[in-house]
């Protein structure tokens, strides 16, 4: 690298930092104005409906799709007149769910099947039937003071993914195909996988697939992807909507014995924090989500590296949910 480019890089960096701070300072300068501007119409609406909508904390677990959908909830709630605090990428469900029941957050996106099996300790009640699974989830969550809203059409499941060479070499296309060879393979996935009913124990029970080793990585994030690419692991637990799978010509093994239940994306909200206005704002988001458009948006996040807030805002505006 020549001196010139080094120097240019450094000055770019410096400029970048200064800009980041200036942008922040400007944003905070204009904030009061924005607030008053935003408050004015909201205020008149409030006058019309005669109530103060208050504030809500929107949370998410630790992967892109969660942040995307959570941001949609946040934008829609803000559009309805709530003030929203965003707390994204908090950790696994094991961490975020207690945060919901303890009132640290008020709402986050869930997946009906996995959430049910999590709450019932892997009783196997979740099925491919969205409505039935949702009803059971409602009952399970009710004890915790949490409301399960109407599920969206969009589904995102966990899936086992292998490199194309591995698939070819071992002749793999379904999860069942793994049974004979899994003992020689290393699985990589989120650290919670070994204790999740629909993860390692599920594959063992339903398919008789027992992997030779497991590496605790991340929830379908860069660490898992890197490990699969470099050959550190042979099989990765990723999300079926992840555009990275297609972008790398990887093979998503078909869940031929239907271990993975219906996984519709659904807002779950603390009953105490819920209100008809909040439900309406969250339902408005669920109404426009489909597996196809979520998959496309995840592709934008993962392959084009777009910002979740950017993608969420563009999508909701286009769908007329906010504006």
């Amino acid at each position: 690298m020549s001196d010139m480019t080094t120097r240019r890089r450094w000055s770019a960096l410096l400029l970048m930092l200064v800009l980041a701070l200036v942008a922040g300072a400007c944003a905070s300068d204009t904030e009061p104005d924005e607030e008053t501007a935003a408050d004015a119409p909201a205020g008149s609406e409030e006058a019309a409906s005669g109530e103060d909508l208050g504030s809500l904390v929107v949370g998410s677990t630790n992967f892109d799709e969660q942040e995307l959908v959570a941001e949609m909830y946040a934008l829609s709630l803000e559009d309805a007149g709530f003030s929203v605090e965003r707390r994204y990428q908090l950790g696994s469900r094991e961490v975020v769910l207690p945060a919901l029941t303890s009132g640290e957050i008020d709402v986050y996106p869930e997946y009906v099947g996995t959430a049910l099996e999590f709450l019932n300790g892997g009783a196997g009640e979740a099925t491919g039937d969205t409505a039935a699974t949702t009803e059971l989830l409602r009952a399970a969550f009710a004890e915790q003071g949490v409301d399960v809203l109407e599920p969206s059409e969009a589904q995102d499941k966990n899936g086992l993914v292998v490199r194309a060479e591995t698939a070819e070499e071992l002749d793999l296309s379904t999860v069942s195909d793994l049974a004979a060879v899994a003992g020689e393979l290393t699985l990589g996935g989120p650290p919670e996988c070994p204790e999740r009913p629909l993860c390692i124990p599920g594959y063992a029970d339903v398919y008789g697939v027992t992997f030779g080793d497991f590496r605790a990585l991340d929830a379908g994030g860069p660490v898992t992807i890197e490990a699969l690419d470099s050959g550190e692991i042979d099989v990765a637990l990723l999300f079926t909507t992840d555009g990275v799978i297609a972008a790398n010509d990887w093979v998503l093994l078909e869940d031929d014995m239907d271990l993975q239940p219906a996984e519709n994306i659904t807002p779950v909200i603390r009953a105490e924090a819920s209100s008809p206005e909040a439900v309406a704002a969250l339902d408005a988001v669920s109404a426009v989500l489909t597996t196809e458009n979520v998959t496309e948006m995840i592709r934008q996040l993962r392959v084009d590296l777009a910002d979740p807030s950017e993608v969420a805002e563009a999508f909701l505006t286009e769908q007329g949910v906010i504006g």
Binding site: A20, L21, V22, A99, A247, V303
Partner: protein, 223 residues
Amino acid sequence: MSPLLAQSRPFPDWEWIQRNGDIVLEQGVQHVQLTVAAVAIGFLIAFPLALLASRRRRLAGPVLQVTGVLFTIPSLALFVGLVPLTGLSTTTALIPLTLYTLLILVRNTIAGLDSVPSEVVEAARAMGFREAALLRSVELPLALPVIIAGVRIATVTTIGLVTVTALIGQGGWGQIILSGFQRQNLTPTLVGFLLSVVLAVTLDLLLVALERRLSPWSRKAAR
């Protein structure tokens, strides 16, 4: 850079900066708040402890030994250990952060008080200074450079540790670093990282300036 995610995002990513300037600032405020709170609370607890330990020498050994052992526990373990008790709250981040500053501050405050020449203390006593006045107008001013050196180390260390709390949903700029990493967008990661370095250096220099003001007679800083 990961070859897997097609790098269609430029670097530096001006668009990201424009979009997220306010978040960067917001997280910066949290970063500073956590740091200042940890150091301030740490100091409030450390000072009386150190005073006690420097007065009763027998306590100093055990106090410093506990210091040594606690430092060997990585912050990640303490943060994680608190999650079941205090959830993802600021408290979960604040307790370990304070604990670490406590250890640095106790150590340096004891050292500071010890660095006051005994002749000076004797002379002050002979001049009729009572304990409280002795502490306030003789010992503290003389110990100040070393005490502030401790505050500086504690502050700079805490700023770095705050970034780790991103793993438990806190963490100021740590969150920007982590989300940039998860999305493999270098701009946020680098912005969060460099800003926390800049913050550490800035606060350190501010503390040096403070020390110069408070003890103009000490020509060279202790550290």
